[in-house]
Symmetry: C2
Subunit: 581 residues, 2 copies
């Protein structure tokens, strides 16, 4: 019943194909990485006609499984040159799943620059529409109108790229509508927005009107599983209603990481930011309360989420400024840029949403630019002007829009905190060794979401480990395997907090998936599937030319001591190379 939709942008044709039998029980990241591995030449140019952009909802996306509306987006990354999977929470993938579409493969490229096009997918089929009129705009000025044209947010969700993707910039993400129809949810990392831009595909509107329910092979097993997961999520302190994530959002981490000395500050010059409390999740909650006049709890980004971690920041007059200020974005523009003003951070976040940019890469890029003398850390007004230059595609904007490594090249900066060309997220490897291992070996470049060892190293989830202990080889491997499985289910990674601590919750996830697919998977299959995903990704990267030399943290971290712990990166190369050996 499930189909694969192949979209050819060279001649603007689209056709449905049956899912190849080898992929019968693959979805989400497993399926995007399979298709990229099997169909994209690893040495092709990521902005050329032989790259592909693949979308796939997870095993249980579109069902009643809680917090499962993730869409995986894959391709060869314009930022790293390696394989990429980035995922987002949105109703878009849910509608795709309900239409029986397990994957959309966007391939080819107009032979000449032929302007932009959009795709409409519904129960009747697929159509192409000219999209030049949609280009050059802020996403908030374009996406709601586009949704309205096709029946409004109750009927459709939208996937779109912003001006950064139109300009094929390496920091361009892929944007999706949230539960309220806002263009705020991102498969942000790795520049897949640029890959779509290179194909002339501006937007994909999905309308699932009239679609049947997602078929479930073993309803009893599925229901048993989803109830176990829901119970775990509802119980755990991090994921329960009015728990840490629902009250303070992911930005609850600011004070925690600052306390641990692991909050990278001013381009990774320190692990403590003196302005941390002013930008923390608690400050967002307090600020919103003051401006709105009541407690403002967070909301689900996508249908069916029972965690609800997505926040909204409000202006002084109580009106909405931006959604969502994730911990990573808060840190990227805050601590890492030396900015302690939430209104300025919110504006930078908003601009990235408007232009279709990855906040982590852009915050990291601004910090490298400050290191290179382009602006001064802490000057939020100037930072805002710089992000506007990206949208204007000035020469400086083109440098910044292509990320931290290109910016480092342009300005002769040696302190670029990246792995494989992707800027590091909000956890300092010299203070938290396991996450440094994840950054080093991740197939995605520096990426916390590929193996969130912060859970045991900082949060005490699934036990408590010393973050400064460099023996994290097995931890890094196991977390990446488990994550690759979760990224294939369609669940948000945040279920991990609960299911790592509550075993029945993890069993529930496996039962849900086995129930939908009709497989006999048990907990023993989690690592097997995760390893299968990683093996495909590692093989792609090997073919693309990556070696152990690419699994290294930047040189300065080996020599420069990080306050307050004054440690350097001291995990032996042999241990890094042992993770996936």
């Amino acid at each position: 019943m499930d189909r694969l939709l192949r979209v050819n942008m060279t001649d603007r044709t689209a056709k449905f194909e049956p899912i190849p039998s080898a992929y019968a029980s693959r979805a989400g990241r497993w399926l995007t990485s399979s298709l990229v591995h099997d169909e994209v030449p690893a040495t092709c140019h990521p902005l050329g006609p032989r790259n592909k952009v693949v979308f796939s909802p997870g095993f249980v996306t579109g069902t009643a499984a809680p917090t499962s509306s993730r869409i995986s987006v894959g391709g060869k990354s314009p930022l790293t040159g390696g394989i990429k999977e980035a995922n987002a929470g949105t109703g878009w993938g849910r509608r795709l799943a309900r239409l029986g579409i397990r994957a959309v493969v966007v391939e080819g490229q107009p032979e000449r620059d032929g302007g932009f096009w959009m795709l409409k997918i519904d129960a009747k089929g697929v159509s192409f529409e000219p999209a030049d009129a949609l280009t050059g705009k802020k996403l908030s000025e374009m996406v709601p109108g586009l949704a309205a044209r096709y029946g409004g947010r109750d009927k459709v969700d939208v996937c779109a790229i912003g001006v950064a993707g139109e300009h094929k910039m390496g920091a361009a993400g892929v944007c999706f509508t949230d539960r309220e129809g806002r263009a705020t949810r991102y498969a942000g990392r790795g520049g897949l927005g640029a890959a779509l831009g290179s194909k002339g595909l501006k937007a994909i509107v999905v309308d699932d009107s009239g679609a049947a329910e997602v078929p479930i092979a073993d309803k009893a097993k599925f229901d048993q599983g989803r109830k176990k997961l829901a119970a775990a999520l509802g119980e755990h302190a991090i994921t329960k209603p009015k728990g840490a994530l629902n009250a303070y959002g992911t930005a609850v981490l600011v004070n925690i990481l600052n306390e641990a000395g692991g909050l990278p500050t001013r381009n990774f010059r320190s692990g403590r930011f003196e302005g941390a409390t002013k930008i923390a999740g608690e400050a967002i909650f307090a600020g919103n309360k003051e401006r709105v006049g009541k407690d403002v709890y967070n909301h689900p980004c996508s249908p069916g989420c029972i965690i609800g971690c997505s926040n909204t920041w409000h202006k002084r007059d109580g009106s909405e400024h931006t959604s969502c200020i994730e911990y990573e974005s808060d840190w990227a523009f805050g601590a890492n840029c030396g900015i302690d003003d939430l209104d300025q951070i919110a504006e930078l976040n908003l601009l990235c949403n408007e232009y279709g940019l990855d906040t982590i890469e852009i915050g990291g890029t601004l910090a490298v630019a400050a290191e290179g003398g382009v602006w001064k850390f802490g000057d939020g007004k100037r930072a805002i002007e710089l992000v506007r230059e990206i949208a204007d595609a000035t020469p400086l904007g083109r440098i910044l829009g292509n990320g931290a490594l290109v910016t480092g090249r342009a300005f002769g900066v040696t302190r670029v905190p990246h792995v494989k060309g992707q800027n590091m997220p909000a956890y300092e490897p010299r203070a938290i060794k396991g996450i440094g291992m994840t950054y080093a070996v991740s197939t995605m470049g520096a990426d916390h979401t590929s193996g969130y060892t912060i859970a045991p190293e900082i949060l005490g989830v699934s036990g408590k480990l010393d973050p400064l202990n460099p023996q994290k080889t097995d931890l890094a491997r196991n977390f990446q395997y488990a994550t690759a499985f979760i990224d294939s289910t369609g669940h948000c990674l945040f279920i991990a907090f609960a299911i790592l601590d509550i075993a029945s919750g993890f069993e529930g996830v496996v039962e849900e998936c086995a129930g939908v697919l009709g497989t006999d998977w048990t907990m023993n299959d989690v690592a097997r599937i995760g390893k299968a995903v990683l093996d495909l990704e590692l093989d792609f990267n090997r073919q693309a030319g990556f070696t152990a030399a690419d699994d290294r943290l930047p040189e300065f971290m080996l020599h420069e001591k990080l306050p307050p712990h004054d440690g350097v990166w001291d995990v032996p190369d042999e241990e890094i190379d042992r993770v996936f050996d």
Copy 2:
């Protein structure tokens, strides 16, 4: 007797050391690549404190051996991230050799940006002088005055970086004075000027007053060798007085390559340029004759050269415009930028000399920028403005100054004709397969001088091969081994035209070297030494993370047919991988 001078820019100290016994018979490229391989961590940042810049004159530099005043410069390349050796003809290395200095190793880096310094080397020792007053200037405004301060061009030669090196740009070369004291001779490729800039070293003045002759172990063998070489050079049609190089300079190649359909035009979109005859070596000769009022033959760039291929282009009033318009520079700004005006090409060449830029990389970069919509092919006035922007270090200038690959990233261009991040020189691989093999496997990135197979493929030197025949595996290997040997002798590579055709000439080169060093080398040692050099370089690059995936031509050349032959790059990957396997 020979010494190694170690210059530490962290604390500005210098000391002489004996040459390690393992290096007793190494010089030129063999010695720079040995020191870089043995002392520079392959994964270090090329602009960081652990990179080193190494200078070494060749085996016979400083002797009476004809055309032997080359200086090798080595380091980890800021452009490619791999090992780099670039060499130039200049009296500078000759003076170094006469002072008994076999190598200068510049290492370390000021801990804070401490401005710029210069080094004075003479028979009494080494001194550091502040050089901030020398920065920000055109090299023609700075170098002659600096030489004059130390006794003038009869006493000293100067090595310097221009503003591009000060700004640590990837296209920054290392400049040396020519025989007339002009700042025109470049170890241009790979950005070693940026590596010097990162160390705060602006210039090195060498005064060999009072130095003894370079010691020669076996004077009779040496004299026998140099006479054989001189005879071959004086006899061969390409190298003899008023022969091809002396009359028309290297730009004699323009018409020849155009005829062969191998002259890359407008960013490698065609192998023929309709304006070729207007920019050819013959046009330079004719233009000079008209403007100066007589035949103007070319001159030696460095003392002791009996080929004399270095030209000067004159303005309408007969005054000097620039020296030298090499074939590569002529092509880079001419055919590859669609410019057919020699005065505009001369101005672009002059500006690169003034700012310390590699003409090949900058011409290639301008072509990629035209492809990206920055300017229009053929608009020479705009091209001149763009190169001026590099000196001004505007954001656009910083993009362009960092070369073709960074420019391609900034402007989303997929057609970047590079290998390992270095732009291709003036021979189209789809029309001349052997040079494409050289580009692919060279340890230096795309580089014609690492194995000039153009000699047999186009010029009929050492036999005549079909350029379109893709079976060039052995040719590519043998030429690179022979070249690595020649690059270690201190001879200019242009002796190859004569010695490949006249066996006694090649014997003479080996006898010269064996005579100086007191070794028993024969012709059988040429490939052995060449292989030893390449093995060091290949090992460095392997440690730096290069794989077979980096030994590939850009994707577009595999698919896009090149007029007029309409061929694609069709050398099988397995053959490429067999060159050094």
